[in-house]
């Protein structure tokens, strides 16, 4: 039996965190759930604890990268065999977490819950779509591998991948960049199809349909992060991963 740690980064998600934890406990009753409270100013930590999760509270807001890495460190030190990253806002359906973990194996050190590998009802806004296509193209350019949904934060890691990312994880726009890091270090990534819910609460970095400067900034920063990450020395990454 694999010991699985569910990592749930949460920043002011009191409206949804309790319900998401309960759903995770239904579908993964054996899993250990840790909520990384990223400097929330609302009742997120208290509600997560009451719902039965272990809460690790950061002293101030580190942003998504710093929060996820905290969870990866927790899972690595706790000796877990696998970890699943799930958003506390309810956009990831925990029912798919089981499939993500099951797909980990010889051909996959990380499994991404993807919105694009099969026909889903997910309809992203045009800017998001352009962004995600661009990321895909750039990732292919710097690693030679194809990843369709590089911004999905719904992911499962095996022990080797989570130990590697616990050691080094990008801070600001971590999802696409961590893919490049893993691929450059020789890890294997697989995508499986999931259905994403409309967010139950909170606010996405990219709005659903309209252009915004913030979204444009997100796309541009990620694109640059992927390219820069592709320039980084691969030898030390591979050495560390081995």
């Amino acid at each position: 039996m694999r010991r699985v740690c569910v990592i749930m980064p949460a920043f002011n998600e009191s409206a949804s965190v309790g319900r998401v934890i309960e759903t995770v406990r239904d579908v993964l009753p054996e899993a250990h759930i840790v909520v990384i409270d990223d400097g929330s100013t609302d009742a997120t930590a208290r509600l997560a604890e009451r719902a039965g999760a272990v809460v690790v509270s950061l002293p101030f807001n580190l942003g998504i990268g710093g929060a996820v890495q905290t969870g990866l460190k927790y899972a690595d030190r706790g000796g877990f065999d696998a970890a699943v990253e799930i958003d506390a806002d309810g956009q990831h359906d925990p029912a798919f977490a089981v499939r993500l973990v099951a797909a980990l194996g010889r051909e996959a050190d990380m499994v991404i819950g993807s919105r694009f590998t099969a026909a889903t009802t997910y309809r992203p806004g045009w800017l998001r779509l352009v962004g995600i296509r661009t990321f895909s193209f750039l990732i292919k350019l710097v690693t030679g591998k194809r990843v369709l949904d590089s911004t999905s934060g719904f992911r499962a890691y095996n022990q080797a991948a989570l130990a590697f990312l616990a050691w080094r994880y990008p801070a600001d726009f971590p999802e696409p960049e961590s893919i490049v890091m893993l691929l450059n270090a020789g890890f294997k990534i697989q995508e499986i199809s999931t259905v994403m819910q409309t967010r139950q609460a909170g606010e996405s970095v990219i709005g659903r349909s309209d252009f915004s400067w913030r979204a444009a900034y997100f796309v541009l920063s990620n694109a640059i992060a992927i390219l820069v990450s592709g320039l980084k020395e691969k030898r030390s990454l591979k050495h560390r991963a081995a």
Binding site: V54, V55, V56, Q69, T70, A171
Partner: protein, 128 residues
């Protein structure tokens, strides 16, 4: 020749103001070093910068000599070149430092949070 190096082509009043300014700057730097407000590495850099400013304003002709030797006909342009290059290098250096500190404080915050969670769990285990 000596007269040339002392004042160069710069009007005396400007040279006097530059000298006063540089001496004040050097004074500020020395005072910061004395009160240990600057890390040693920076103390040395800024002390040398202050010293160079005083030297160049006292011996204004030195700038002309330098400008001519690198082929710049308008010597204040040489001054701007030196200053801008120096500031650029310094700001790159500060970006590196900020990135390093950013990395460190993130790690500290993470360790702090993980340790606190373990401590609270241990205390709960003991009392509950």
């Amino acid at each position: 020749m000596i007269q040339q190096i002392l004042s160069g082509t710069i009007p005396a009043r400007i040279q006097f103001l530059a000298l006063v300014g540089s001496v004040i700057l050097l004074g500020i730097i020395v005072n910061l070093i004395r009160r240990e407000k600057l890390k040693e590495g920076y103390s040395i850099i800024w002390f040398l910068v202050g010293l160079a400013m005083v030297t160049f304003s006292a011996l204004a002709g030195l700038l002309d000599v330098f400008a001519r030797s690198v082929g710049i006909s308008y010597s204040p342009a040489a001054l701007f070149l030196i200053l801008i290059s120096g500031l650029l290098l310094l700001s790159i250096h500060f970006s590196v430092m900020v990135s390093k500190h950013d990395q460190r404080y993130r790690e500290l915050a993470q360790e702090h949070a993980l340790l606190r969670a373990r401590l609270e769990a241990a205390e709960r285990g003991r009392h509950g």
